[in-house]
């Protein structure tokens, strides 16, 4: 079963997995609340997705099919190495197709293809605490969450409006989960925030260095903070994807030469490929 000899299935030892599993269950029962857990040292540095990997390792089984994306792409270093890590230590099947995956580990994007019931989306989280840049003390932020005292975040967004005329946060945009807990959605573009709302898939978040796990169960209300006169809006582009022609996906700007040449392409490589295939089939 296990690909790499000398290692337990999915790398982590059983007691660690049980501890993470208990934390995940509590996280699901208290949507948006950050459950502390005993994060382990992993064979890659903090900042490379150690939290996401530990959550995936605790969740994944031999029947799963894993997809890993980094900024939407299946073929970047981080995605390739994590996918290979689980192929070797857990012997699981892997895929690049969103529709075929049962577990999707992601860094900084939600796939364009709508997720379905039964899928699990695992986010890699650098800083789990939404109030951390406003209040550095953990004891205080914990109290603020206990009292649902989120005025400071509204003041921060208001200051954005006072200074720039609009809310200037474009990624890691704070959300309120189930009307109770303020949550950082990890550094996904705010373009992806609406996808979290009432998503049929289970969303799990793992922060390795900060030792926190949190969750958004399926069909849970996730509201991006805003004001009545400054409603939440997502990014838009004048261009369509230069490769597949998709006009409704999140686009990356790619510099093509040193004379100001640039093109816009889908950040989600699987979405881009399937759009191309569809277009070719139509022609």
């Amino acid at each position: 079963m296990t690909g790499a000899t000398g290692y337990n299935f999915a790398y982590l030892d059983e007691q660690t997995k049980r501890m993470i599993r208990r934390a995940i269950l509590k996280a699901v029962a208290i949507p948006g609340y950050q459950v502390p857990f005993g994060s382990r040292e992993m064979p890659l540095p903090y900042g490379w997705g150690t939290g996401g990997i530990q959550v995936t390792a605790a969740v994944i089984g031999p029947d799963d099919r894993l997809k890993v994306i980094d900024q939407g792409a299946d073929d970047t270093t981080n995605a390739v190495s994590i996918r290979r890590f689980f192929a070797r230590t857990a012997g699981v099947a892997t895929t690049e197709r969103t529709t075929e995956a049962t577990v999707i580990q992601t860094r900084h994007r939600i796939p364009e293809t709508p997720l379905v019931e039964g899928q699990i989306l695992v986010y890699q989280v650098p800083i789990p605490e939404p109030l951390r840049w406003l209040e550095p003390r953990e004891t205080e932020t914990r109290k603020m969450h206990a009292l649902a005292d989120y005025g400071a975040m509204h003041v921060k967004l208001y200051e954005d409006i006072a200074r720039f005329g609009r809310i200037a946060t474009t990624y890691d945009y704070p959300v309120l989960v189930n009307g109770r807990y303020l949550m950082r959605p990890s550094p996904i573009p705010k373009f992806d925030n609406p996808k979290m709302h009432m998503n049929p898939a289970l969303q799990l978040f793992g922060a390795g260095r900060e030792k926190r796990i949190y969750a958004v169960p399926p069909y849970t209300a996730v509201k991006s903070l805003d004001f009545e006169d400054h409603p939440f809006e997502v990014q838009r582009w004048d261009q369509a994807c230069a490769i597949c022609g998709s006009a409704d996906s999140f686009l990356d700007e790619v510099v093509t030469d040193d004379r100001g040449g640039r093109m816009y392409v889908c950040s989600d490589t699987d979405h881009c490929t399937s759009q191309q295939t569809r277009k070719e089939a139509a022609e």
Binding site: K17, A27, L202, P217
Partner: protein, 198 residues
């Protein structure tokens, strides 16, 4: 005859089977009120049902204190859980991380278990309640996270006051206990986030 002679085996493949049991419990917790089936068969000491024992075997260990109600506290069960989980047993429900109830009629109110604190609501007890059936009782309707519109759960064999306890447990959100109902090889979960309607 020593305990080792009478001790029943635990999960057939501890690594893979605890993952599979965890996934059905996770599925149940993420979709409150939905009935899920245990993905394996298990021989367990009476009066435990396979689903009850499987949840304990998959999730309890040396780090979790387990509380057993009077009916389940038989020597065979104690020895079985102590051996396979290695978990310390506690006498006080308020000190438990996991609690197993096999005689719901005689169980203490949910408020007797640890509901966690406002700062650390995750430190609460997970209460495993073994019941005669999960679909033959009075149907209760729930809404909340994990539930698309509403879900009906008809657990049988619960004490009359239980409905009130569930409502009270949700009212204290984010504090509160999380419930796992087990019967035979099936289970359903009711996290504190589930709101009782009607």
């Amino acid at each position: 005859m020593t305990t080792a002679d009478t001790l029943l085996p635990g999960l057939p493949d501890p690594v893979i089977d605890s993952q599979r049991v965890f996934r059905v419990v996770l599925d149940a917790m993420a979709r409150p009120g939905t009935l899920v089936d245990l993905p394996l068969s298990l021989k367990v000491p009476a009066p435990l049902d396979p689903a009850t024992a499987a949840v304990a075997l998959a999730l309890a260990d040396v780090d979790t204190r387990l509380w057993l109600d009077g009916a389940v506290g038989a020597d065979a069960v104690r020895a079985y859980l102590r051996f396979h989980c290695g978990c310390p047993l506690t006498e006080g429900p308020a000190a438990a991380d996991f609690a197993i109830v096999v005689d719901p009629q005689a169980m203490p109110p949910l408020a007797a278990f640890n509901a966690g604190s406002d700062e650390f609501p995750d430190s609460s007890t997970t209460v495993i309640v073994q019941v005669p059936t999960l679909d033959g009782g009075e149907p209760w309707t729930f809404t909340g996270p994990g539930i698309r519109d509403r879900v009906r759960l008809a657990v049988a064999g619960l004490p009359p006051a239980f409905r009130g306890w569930v409502a009270e447990n949700h009212a204290g959100f984010p504090r509160g206990v999380d419930l796992i109902f087990t019967s035979g090889t099936r289970l359903a979960a009711l996290p504190r986030s589930a709101r009782l309607e009607g």
